[in-house]
């Protein structure tokens, strides 16, 4: 019974992990850069929502459109005015954009600390649980799962059925192929970075009523997203869903069996395991 309970907890957690990883994956796809500021956008949105809830009693779900737009604009500005200005020599482009997102991560964490202080905040929102016999399903987790599912499917549909979505996927899959088709790759990268950041902020909104957050915790969410996409295969959207489930389950079981502190090592552990055994990810193809 306890195993079933833990499994349900893990799967529910996996929804938010999958959403966050989708944003991370889009940015990796169009930029070939690991966005080290990803988790900082997640916690920034979470802290903002927690602040809005405690100060003004605003339901975090109602803030979703706000955080999504905020993330989109912030991401577009970061790409347009920072990442795009980096030198383009093939050899150094990836290293310099990695360094830039690393710096951005510190900037956001520091900014969050200055604005909101360093204490943990949470949103006491939907604190009840549904009781199904011996299984209890926390309302907040269920809601976050459903919201994450709806958002992930929504973004996935946009990626499939819109001109921009197809351009983002084409650029991710073959840069020169995309250029040959006349795609304005610079623009796609700006909009792709914006979309990825918007998704990070959407995930953060859901995180606000799942966990205690503070602005310093970004790295945790970056590592989670990174682990999820590495498990599934970088750039592989379906693989990321699998990766999110695996990480969710691992975190759920390990925090019960090993305690919350050790459970924080779960993503690192999975990360290393996957890199050793299946370096291209569980659903990944060996890079051509």
């Amino acid at each position: 019974m306890i195993a079933l309970q833990l499994a349900i907890n893990g799967i529910l957690l996996g929804g938010v992990l999958a959403l966050s990883a989708l944003g991370f994956n889009i940015i990796f796809g169009v930029m070939r850069v690991v966005n080290l500021a990803h988790g900082d956008f997640v916690v920034l949105a979470a802290v903002l929502c927690a602040y809005a809830f405690t100060q003004f009693g605003i339901n975090p779900l109602l803030l979703l459109p706000v955080t999504i737009v905020f993330g989109f604009v912030a991401g577009a500005l970061v790409h347009r005015f920072l990442l795009r200005r980096l030198p383009r020599e093939i050899a150094s482009a990836e290293a310099s954009s990695l360094t830039l997102t690393f710096g951005l991560s510190y900037f956001l964490a520091g900014g969050g600390l200055a604005l909101f202080g360093g204490s943990f905040v949470s949103v006491p929102f939907l604190t009840g649980a549904y009781q199904l016999g011996p299984i209890s399903i926390p309302q907040a987790r269920l809601l976050a799962f459903v919201a994450a599912l709806v958002l992930s499917v929504g973004f996935a549909i946009l990626l499939r059925s819109t001109l921009l979505g197809r351009a983002i996927r084409a650029t991710s899959q073959h840069l020169e192929g995309a250029l040959a088709c006349g795609i304005d790759v610079d623009r796609v990268r700006t909009l792709g970075f914006a979309t990825g950041t918007a998704i990070a902020c959407a995930a953060g909104t859901l995180v606000s009523f799942l966990f205690n957050v503070n602005a310093q915790q970004g790295v945790l969410y970056t590592v989670n997203a990174f682990a999820v996409v590495v498990i599934g295969g970088l750039g592989n959207y379906t693989g990321a869903v699998l990766g999110a489930l695996i990480l969710g389950l691992t975190e759920s079981f390990s925090s019960y069996l090993l305690g919350a502190t050790l459970a924080e090592a779960a993503p690192y552990f999975l990360f290393i395991l996957v890199l050793l055994l299946a370096p291209a990810g569980l659903l990944g193809k060996r890079a051509a």
Binding site: R166, A170, Q173, L179, A180, I183
Partner: protein, 238 residues
């Protein structure tokens, strides 16, 4: 007036200079063949025309307008399309999605459904494959997708970089037949090929590149009969 006039084109990668002065012209509706050894700069020439590689010197005039240094989006918008070496398909996307990306330029965005239908009419093989991942197709099928994708933008000039690369002789013949049919519809073609004999049969004129320079030009038949070309590209012992 030539449809395309490339004059003294220079380009490279970082500090490395690959093109030192490539010049050639394409008249409306003709097939021009470009031959040269491995590394001579054939692909770089095509990429510089479409804008994937930024030229460092020289001019490219398409339909009377300078296009050197312009972004690929603008060049494709004006009516040039590239079938890249190695095809460069979007392997995880379906055949149909690949074709739809080919219709990215504003000029052809409307009426994508009609263009898709025309594409399936022209390449009957693609219809049944439309839902398949491009990466799962055979080499010949992929090449046809790459050609169909380029045609989605309704180009007046089609740049083809080794369309027969890695294909069996029989499939190569089919691809050459397609090139001929596309050209008959009025599309001018620049054909870069290793199958020099067949390519020269298709082309009206040809250019030879050596180490990033145009070193020879002439009617295809003349190039075909040139002793140096015979020795270097046709493996004929004289």
């Amino acid at each position: 007036m030539s449809l395309l006039a490339v004059d003294d084109l220079q380009a490279g990668y970082g500090d490395f200079k690959a093109l030192h002065g490539v010049s050639f012209a394409v008249e409306p509706g003709e097939i021009v063949c470009v031959i040269g050894a491995n590394g001579a700069g054939k692909s770089t020439t095509l990429k510089s025309i479409i804008g994937i590689v930024r030229p460092t010197g020289g001019t490219v005039i398409f339909d009377g307008e300078h296009i050197e240094g312009r972004a690929p989006g603008e060049v494709v918008e004006r009516g040039v399309a590239l079938v890249p070496e190695g095809r460069n398909l979007f392997a995880g996307m379906t055949v149909e999605e690949n074709l739809m990306v080919g219709a990215h330029p504003k000029r052809v965005r409307r009426g994508v459904a009609r263009r898709l239908r025309e594409s399936y009419d022209r390449f009957p093989l693609l219809g049944p494959l439309r839902g398949r991942r491009a990466g799962s197709l055979s080499g010949g099928q992929q090449q046809i997708v790459a050609i169909a994708r380029a045609l989605m933008s309704e180009p007046r000039l089609l740049l083809m970089d080794e369309p027969s690369l890695g294909l069996a002789p029989k499939i190569t013949l089919e691809i050459f037949d397609l090139v001929r049919a596309i050209n008959r519809d009025g599309v001018a073609v620049v054909l870069v090929e290793q199958n020099v004999v067949q390519a020269l049969e298709l082309a009206s004129r040809a250019y030879v590149l050596t180490e990033g320079k145009t070193v020879m030009e002439g009617a295809a038949a003349t190039i075909r009969g040139n002793a140096d070309v015979k020795r270097r590209f046709l493996g004929e012992v004289l």
